[in-house]
Symmetry: C2
């Protein structure tokens, strides 16, 4: 199976394609650093971001992520002004998931050689991402490491990684401890594939499907290369406004690799029924059809139209949707929470249920909303 | 000329091999993000780390760096438990240079595939680095991006990048504003090549010199591959103790790419005369001889034996040397400061003077110490 793997050390405890052993051992080794000083991380490895208690009032959230093999598409399109937005979004969207406000991101750019146009376009994308997220970029590193890189355009291979920090009161993290049955799940639409699953997407569209970058895709309305390069949507300002308004936010989930299974990272013993999902962008239909990919695999790898989820008290759902819409997002209540020790995610319309990291076909009825039960 | 280029956007304003244009434009674009929120970076781009003012009392220092092409040597040696130490050292040694205490580092590991032994060894090195620096590792990212990587051992190509944060009172940064003529420069010995200049070192030793990894090098006493993999020395605990003791620290310089020219990053109009340098480790002699590399180039690319410099008031020199030695470092007063608008660095024994980023041959006498003038 062709699949991009990208993990925040969070496959720990889950047997994902036989990699359990190495990642688990790596996690144990890394977690043994937690008591190397007095500023211990507040969360275990594997949440969207971790938080360091700096003082009684100041916590610093931190998260690092790269753009992955979306970079290969940028090279093939010879266009470098969008992946910087992805780099900021992948990190800043993670930072808000612990209830923090992103403030700064540093970037690491590895290049084969210093190419004027490429660097300027990369910087332009980073600046646009920073603008969208309302963060600054206080520094970065450009490493010229020609022999370490490979790509789809010789001499212009590169990698792009960011590390974002944010602030949060160390006693006011949002990590899903308070999710209760009957809470609502509000979905914010993605712009497409975002920055996950590109190894599978490229395999389906180009290798199996035989498309070229400039070819149009049914329903997409523009060349497939352009559609794939569409930047990851930035949810930061909308979510920060939800926090500032003191709404009943129970958990926040950036939908990246593992798709809607990211909901299941919550601390509470909660399951999620997504009975009214957002529309599936046509690029995913094209990937599934050209690649012959089953729904379980599609939903495990891709966001399938939902880029961010807000789990909240039902009474605040309308306000949350309204804030998201005012920030330009397509948003709606897409489901509800139930009590579930196994933290499953049900997708009734797709006929799937997910547990751990993966979805599988499911004929059984999803649990009804708690309010209908009582 | 073969040379590893690695920059913190700090070649800005300096014409380094014709790359001025692209880096300068990139710097201008990135620096335009500084006012995207209220937590503006305190320093311009290009110092060892930047600092964000979180509250009136809390500043967060942040720096990102990779290990560079030392990674190719690790692959050839098939040994992965040392570069994690380099990764921590490259970042944590930078953080102390602004007067901050390192607290946490996140890492980004890009791999071709998840290899149990490789990941475990990488994690072991990161933990050892964290232990030496007294920091924790609250998270990280493992990206499986086979098609984006190239290396010296197929399937085991990887990249390793860290981002370190530290704390510093925002009004008590050490950035070399107060360097005065007659201050002393204290050098702390490096362990060898550290993590800079590996492209040139490999070219000299293996391509021009014809050595193989297992070959001994004159004066080194062990195989060249092992000598090259020697981890970057961690200066964190020694420097933090110097801070805690309230000694008269004027500026702190991690000696990485650009060698002792890193001294010239200070804010003050100061020059540096290194008249009593630390011993040059034999690996550098081997590189220079086998590669036919002139002294100016050697001192521009390599640390040449001095991995960290503390510029301090003369009266505190003995205490600083004693602290460094108690932490296991070879340390000594290696020079003194003079007034110099051009921020030059004189190396009288090597017959060199440096300005901007590079050293050149110099027959003129270095300025005498100010005390001798008066």
């Amino acid at each position: 199976m062709v699949r991009a793997m990208s993990t925040r050390y969070d496959a720990l405890g889950v047997d994902t394609q036989g990699v359990e052993g190495s990642l688990k051992r790596l996690g144990v080794i890394i977690e043994s650093t937690f008591d190397f000083n007095a500023a211990s991380p507040i969360l275990p490895l594997g949440y969207f971001a971790n938080v360091i208690r700096i003082t009684d009032d100041v916590g610093i959230a931190i998260s690092t992520d790269g753009v992955g093999t979306k970079i290969l598409v940028a090279q093939q399109m010879d266009r470098y002004d969008t992946v910087g937005i992805d780099c900021v979004a992948m990190n800043a969207n993670d930072i808000v998931c612990v209830g923090a406000r992103p403030i700064s991101m540093v970037d690491y750019i590895a290049v084969q050689r210093l190419d004027d146009r490429q660097l300027e376009e990369l910087a332009t994308g980073l600046r646009e991402g920073a603008r969208q997220a309302g963060i600054n970029i206080p520094g970065g590193e450009i490493a010229q490491v020609r022999e370490m890189l490979h790509g789809s355009r010789d001499g212009l291979a590169f990698d792009l990684v960011g590390t974002c920090i944010g602030t949060v009161h160390p006693d006011r993290l949002i990590v899903g401890e308070d999710v209760r049955p009957g809470d609502v799940v509000i979905g914010l639409a993605s712009s497409g594939v975002h920055s996950n699953g590109f190894t599978l997407a490229r395999h389906a569209l180009f290798e199996r499907g035989g498309l070229r970058m400039g070819d149009p895709v049914a329903g997409v309305g523009r060349p497939v290369g352009e559609a794939l390069l569409e930047p990851t949507r930035m949810y930061v300002r909308a979510v920060v406004e939800m926090m500032d308004r003191g709404l009943g936010l129970r958990s926040l989930a950036h939908i990246t690799g593992d798709g809607l299974m990211n909901l299941a990272r919550v601390r509470a013993a909660a399951g999620f029924v997504i009975d009214e999902p957002l529309a599936i962008p046509p690029i995913f239909t094209a990937i599934a059809e050209l690649g012959g990919i089953a729904p379980a695999e599609m939903y495990t790898v891709f966001n399938m139209g939902t880029g961010f989820c807000v789990v909240a008290t039902a009474g605040d759902a309308d306000d949350i949707v309204a804030i998201a819409q005012r920030h330009g997002h397509t948003a709606a209540v897409i489901g509800y929470t139930v009590a579930d020790q196994r933290r499953r995610v049900w997708l009734p319309r797709a006929g799937l249920v997910g547990e751990g990291k993966t979805f599988r076909a499911n004929d059984e009825r999803a649990p009804a909303p708690p309010s209908a039960e009582s």
